[in-house]
Point group: C4
Chain length 211, copies 4
């Protein structure tokens, strides 16, 4: 068993455990959402959760290896699994942001915030911003891109709004992408963003600079 | 032990596990709600959860076999159990929609959405619609029918609004029915509908085409 | 060991399990709330949860036997335990309503509903009313009484508003009392009331007859 | 093994268990929040949760001993652990209020209440105030101080608003500090405050004396 295969099994177990956690939080309802980990950089290879399954019940084998285009590579341990259609955007984010893990969840507060502030969700003067690796007095704008079924269109839109200091993007009327150096950091940033979106939705209406 | 009896035990175990999941989510409070699986088509036989029990504590035996009218058949393993009064609507849905499983839950967001949009809850341009087997840019209307204690009246109302492309109907001031080819698909659709109703209730007021 | 002592142990175990369930639901925060079961009718004896303890961590021994005035009887297995100050109201409800179990929880939605409708929370045309033992088209008014630290004053106020058909009363700016023939029925009614109060708070503002 | 070392291990286990509880409640998202227990008074020594870790996954060793300035003392069992930057405020509260335990959580309802009532959150005529050790008819004002990254500034602001009868302070746009004689009392007070803030946010807008 090669080193890479072991890494894939470890990635699969981590992705399954994290998916179950997110499913319990209501972020991966139905079969929605997908998570990925970067297995290697050159050439780019990601382990991404398989499509069409209940995210609360994944096993370590419910994972597919994809390339920089999000296409399943031919020679892999679980050839029968189908990668998520959104694997292409995961790969773009991993390449552009240098992320070690990417989380895509259908977080309701993120979609509602994008609905209210379609030009980007502005967050400032909030201690929780430190959970994104920012200063509490930074002005942080979480960008919003339009939804698309074409992953190249979505990927291009992501690259246009990408700011290396802000590890998240909302896809309007769809969901949230968050990334980090590893899956735990991506989880922590996702949790902090939920708090921030809920705060903005409840309190933001009284702040002049949000429009 | 006949093949049908084994299938009934399997159905009972699956229905009990799913009921416990839905009870934890607050969708089957008190003794409310009921779930069914289609055991055979000709003649139609459904396994439906027994009436009057805590849906978080069902066992595999807390299930009754009913016919196309929702009446308990005379010869069955658990003759002491009483079928839910709503079994008649389950049977109508199973016959009309060809469903393999029907979920009836007292989901608050569904009842609130029907209260706000009594002519039907219109959903469009939302990625989560794919969880119902629709395109994200379809215009999907979840129909609303008036509540009734007469299952024939309810069943007739259901058939009048039934659209094969939309696997759900809301009974006003009562609850939600969702169906699918099996219990897992019905669960996934139910979860996606909760997200969609919550989105519509929070964001829908600003959309012109919802009235 | 007498028959009564065994019944008390069984009651203590049931009350501890139910308290843990309600604590998880956020209905018994801090050390708030208390539950009781009627042990005998003549003279009236109740098993009531002990005061000042975390309701998520009770044991079967954290229970006190009280009389019709809510006072701890002298000769009992756990003489060191202190009964809740509210035991007096439990006893009044058990006597007046003939209840086998009384639940007192600090349910936020009940207190908010009483704040909005201080003359009583009117509920009608809702299927969930059947969970209270009523018809869905009954007009059910959950009465509201002012808060008091004097259990005789509270008990008198309860008796003035008591309607045998409505197994609940809200104490304004305080919490909810619900009762039933046993602890499971009281639980089911409490769960249904939460749904009804949440519905009324979210949808009730548009209904003419609520004021 | 000295007596103090054993106390630290016990404190570490209690702090880890309590952190896991609070993380499940959504009060310690990402790596936010921190808890402390007073180990000795003269000189003041606190056991405080280590910085940068997932608060749902702490072990008994993820704890640091700090002095009255919140600085890690040189000779301790876990010298590799870094104390939270906020340990300085924990120490000020322990010294000023004589607290045996201090809880700091990023409770959304507390931050929203401080946003709405920046001069202090006024609570009155609510039974739940008894959970803070107050009478139900006391007028209790939970003070609000501005956020700062300088723990001396924060500590000075805390001392200016400190009222021995009110065991909590909100740091605006940041989170909540609550204290008590031990960790369980601090937990109970924190739970009661969440109920009180949620009540005030939902019902308070109609009360004249809140502005």
């Amino acid at each position: 068993m090669s080193t890479e295969t072991i890494a894939l099994e470890q990635a699969g177990a981590a992705l399954a455990a994290e998916s179950a956690r997110f499913a319990r939080l209501g972020w991966m309802l139905g079969t929605s959402g997908n998570l990925s980990m970067t297995l290697r950089r050159d050439p780019l290879r990601l382990a991404v959760t398989a499509s069409g399954l209940d995210k609360g019940e994944l096993t370590a084998a419910d994972v597919v290896v994809v390339d920089a285009a999000g296409t399943a590579v031919p020679d892999q341990p679980n050839p029968a699994q189908r990668p998520s259609a959104e694997a292409g955007l995961h790969a773009r984010i991993a390449a552009t942001a240098g992320a070690g893990a990417v989380v895509h969840v259908h977080m309701l507060s993120a979609v509602l915030a994008a609905q209210r502030w379609p030009g980007g969700v502005v967050l400032r003067d909030l201690e929780m911003l430190k959970g994104l690796g920012r200063r509490d007095d930074d002005v942080v704008t979480v960008p919003v891109v339009p939804n698309s079924q074409d992953m190249v269109v979505l990927g291009d839109a992501f690259e246009q709004v990408f700011d290396p200091a802000t590890p998240a993007v909302i896809v309007a009327r769809h969901g949230l992408y968050v990334w980090g150096r590893d899956l735990v950091q991506a989880r922590h940033r996702t949790e902090c963003l939920q708090w921030l979106f809920q705060f903005a939705l409840s309190a933001g209406g009284t702040e002049e600079d949000m429009a």
